[in-house]
């Protein structure tokens, strides 16, 4: 198996955001007005752009190491791919894991192919700072397939394979537009009901779609349930949700990837103490001995009201600062 080192790290602890950021009250008001027919979609665009720039500035001020655009116009993790890919339609509302939040189940109506349309709409790299790495966040092929309604492929593994190939096309296209690292979100990988066969499919999928500097981010579940398969995937980094994964369960594994520590809780407004987080991260370093490390929220920050999400970014930044000052 390929074991790659996450480029960009030089023995330092880094800090990233992991996915969909919280919408501002102004953007919420505008999108609500569109839904009620009181505003044109085109009138939301300037507000959206301003909010992406504002998030970019926050990441810059907070000295984050890989910039994301916050996916502020993504209706859920899969919706953009009803445009970017052909063959996928948007289905019924379905609960998003154990949250009081819902997504539209993708319906795989026909064979999937990368169409290329919508990429600029959903990946706003041109609004991010010129310097520094840009990170694109994508649905992982296993999670995408498990949370879809498959009407087009004979087997589950065929669907995962098709998604992996199309996601590879997305990664290639985005590499050409300025993105340098790619995060695949795989919350389903750590669900207790995963079978060995599904985890084997996961391994194969990343042989296909993991291009360049890539990582898998897991959340809402205990990563130790799938740790062997995740470590086999040819990616550079692996993100885990520290609110769902007991550290002790990972101790026996040789973590040879950059470890993403989901240490800021994206599902509770209580602000973590940077001092306490520093202690937790130092314990991670001591117990698991990962080669490198990045601090992150455990999941998307969209579950929090916007002002709280902004404060959580600053908590991350402050924690990193304390760690860098630690003896």
């Amino acid at each position: 198996m390929r074991r790659l080192k996450f480029t960009g790290l030089h023995g330092m602890v880094e800090t990233h955001l992991t996915g969909v950021f919280s919408r501002s009250e102004r953007l919420i008001a505008a999108t609500r007005a569109v839904a009620r027919g009181n505003l044109k979609q085109s009138e939301v665009e300037p507000i959206l752009q301003e909010d992406i720039r504002s998030l970019a500035s926050l990441q810059e001020e907070s000295k984050l190491d890989a910039f994301v655009d916050g996916q502020l116009n993504w209706q859920d993790l899969f919706r953009p791919f009803t445009e970017i890919f052909t063959g996928i339609e948007s289905g019924g509302l379905t609960r998003w894991f154990d949250n009081n939040t819902f997504y539209r189940k993708p319906v795989i109506a026909r064979k999937i192919a990368f169409s290329g349309s919508g990429l600029q709409e959903y990946f706003r790299v041109h609004l991010l700072p010129k310097h520094g790495r840009k990170k694109a966040v994508l649905p992982g092929p296993l999670t995408f397939a498990l949370l879809s309604d498959n009407k087009a492929y004979q087997s589950f593994s065929d669907l995962v394979d098709a998604l992996a190939h199309s996601l590879k096309d997305v990664v290639k296209a985005l590499s050409g537009s300025g993105y340098e690292c790619f995060q695949f979100n795989e919350p389903c990988a750590c669900e207790p009901k995963r079978t060995e066969s599904e985890l084997e499919t996961l391994r194969h999928a990343y042989e296909t779609c993991a291009e360049g500097n890539s990582l898998i981010h897991t959340y809402f579940g205990d990563a130790s349930r799938a740790i062997e398969a995740l470590l086999d995937c040819p990616v550079n980094g692996l993100g885990i949700d520290l609110y769902s994964t007991p550290l002790g369960s990972l101790k026996e594994y040789d973590l040879d990837k950059t470890l993403g520590c989901g240490c800021v809780d994206g599902r509770n407004s209580l602000l973590e103490s940077p001092t306490e987080l520093k202690e937790i991260i130092q314990k991670v370093q001591a117990d698991l001995e990962p080669p490198d490390l990045y601090l992150a929220p455990n999941c998307d920050l969209e579950f929090l009201p916007h002002p709280v999400a902004e404060k959580k970014v600053r908590v991350l930044s402050e924690t990193r600062k304390l760690l860098s000052e630690a003896p």
Binding site: N268, S269, L270, L304
Partner: protein
């Protein structure tokens, strides 16, 4: 012998359009006035002229209070007219099922909106201090219903688990901060503390206030109950805490869930005589959804069932014969028709007034057909 297959409402109806227009300070349109006139005649609403007169004046606090009351009485007449045996006010007087109790209790603070899906959002509160009772937030509406109802009353109230699950938990997590190195344990135990405190400090005094005012049946709504299966025991403990010594009939409404996750835990509920559950949403031509009732037999659960026989998420109107078939099928599984009450799957607030009325009317017709079939 008591009436077989009594028909009950579950909770919310859509907000009356004329009430919304008034509350939002919008111009009352002709369509709003037509709504008042049409439905007043259809359901025998006796305050038509007062509604029309109030709508004719600019918004003011007295008008708002009275119009909310009139909307509640209007919904009551609507449910009575559709033929229901157990009625309430369609929750016309509440903001909605989460925000209403939280805004009327202490210990919570709203920071802003979070997304529910697409461009739909809700205000989510954070628990920032030990939760505390501020007032019996359903008492005025209950007294109004008691004054005007011509059928029996059942009061729906949001349960402790759902209030806690739909809030951020700052205070109780902060209290357990000594566990900060074990983040899973910290979150889980803080959640239990929160749920139990909502039950003791907020729900219990609300239930006792309603009973003291004469409530005979209260339905505890817990739509979040199976969201985290490992936390179902917290709910059981909370339900038992908040209903301890409460002298009225108590029932539990759960919907859109895997009911297997409730068992065996809910066998330990000490003061719950009915489970009102959604089924129609997931039914097929073979009545397959109702096979889940076998769970009750499997665990020896002899409680009443509030049988969801109409899907609240589609406009298609279930025919009386389909409803009859669903009731009969359930009665065969449970071996006891006396335990079955009939209801929509959940509140009908997402349907139009026309669709909701057609569904409710057919439920009462279907229940009558079922009575004839089993008698």
């Amino acid at each position: 012998m008591s009436k077989l297959f009594p028909v009950q409402e579950i909770g919310s109806l859509p907000k009356a359009p004329w009430l919304l227009a008034y509350l939002r300070g919008k111009k009352v349109e002709q369509a709003d006035l037509d709504h008042v006139r049409k439905w007043s005649k259809m359901v025998g609403f006796e305050f038509e002229s007062e509604v029309l007169s109030t709508l004719g004046f600019p918004r003011n606090s007295d008008g708002e209070k009275r119009l909310r009351e009139l909307a509640s009485i209007f919904a009551l007449r609507y449910l009575e007219s559709a033929g229901l045996d157990y009625v309430y006010d369609g929750e016309e007087n509440r903001i909605e099922m989460y925000e209403h109790p939280v805004r009327n209790s202490d210990g919570f603070e709203f920071y802003g909106h979070v997304r529910s899906f697409d461009n739909r959002y809700y205000r989510k509160a954070a628990c920032v201090a030990k939760v505390a009772f501020r007032k019996a937030y359903h008492l005025d509406e209950f007294k109004l219903m008691k004054q005007h109802a011509r059928r029996s009353i059942k009061v729906p109230i949001t349960g402790p688990y759902t209030i806690a699950d739909w809030s951020f938990n700052e205070y109780y997590q902060q209290q357990r901060r000594e566990d900060f190195k074990d983040l899973q344990k910290l979150k889980l135990e803080a959640k239990r503390d929160f749920v139990i405190d909502v039950a003791k400090q907020i729900i219990y005094p609300n239930l006792t206030a309603l009973v003291e005012a004469g409530a005979e049946w209260i339905q505890v709504d817990e739509p979040a109950l199976t969201t985290r299966p490992e936390e179902v025991p917290f709910f059981v403990e909370a339900f038992n805490e908040c209903t301890k010594g409460v002298q009225c009939k108590l029932s539990l409404h759960v919907c859109f869930s895997d009911y297997r996750l409730l068992y065996p835990h809910i066998m330990d509920l000490k003061n719950c005589s009915q489970l009102a559950l959604e089924f129609a949403n997931r039914d097929d031509d073979q009545r397959g959804a109702y096979d889940q009732l076998k769970l009750l037999n499997e665990f020896g659960d002899r409680r009443e069932i509030g049988l969801g026989v109409a899907d609240v998420h589609v406009d298609q109107i279930e025919s009386p014969t389909v409803i009859r078939d669903r009731i009969e099928y359930a009665a065969k599984i449970l071996h006891d028709p006396q335990r079955i009450y009939v209801n929509p799957d959940c509140g009908l607030r997402t349907r139009s007034w026309d669709i909701a009325y057609a569904k409710l009317s057919n439920i009462t017709k279907g229940a009558e057909l079922a009575r004839q079939a089993v008698s």
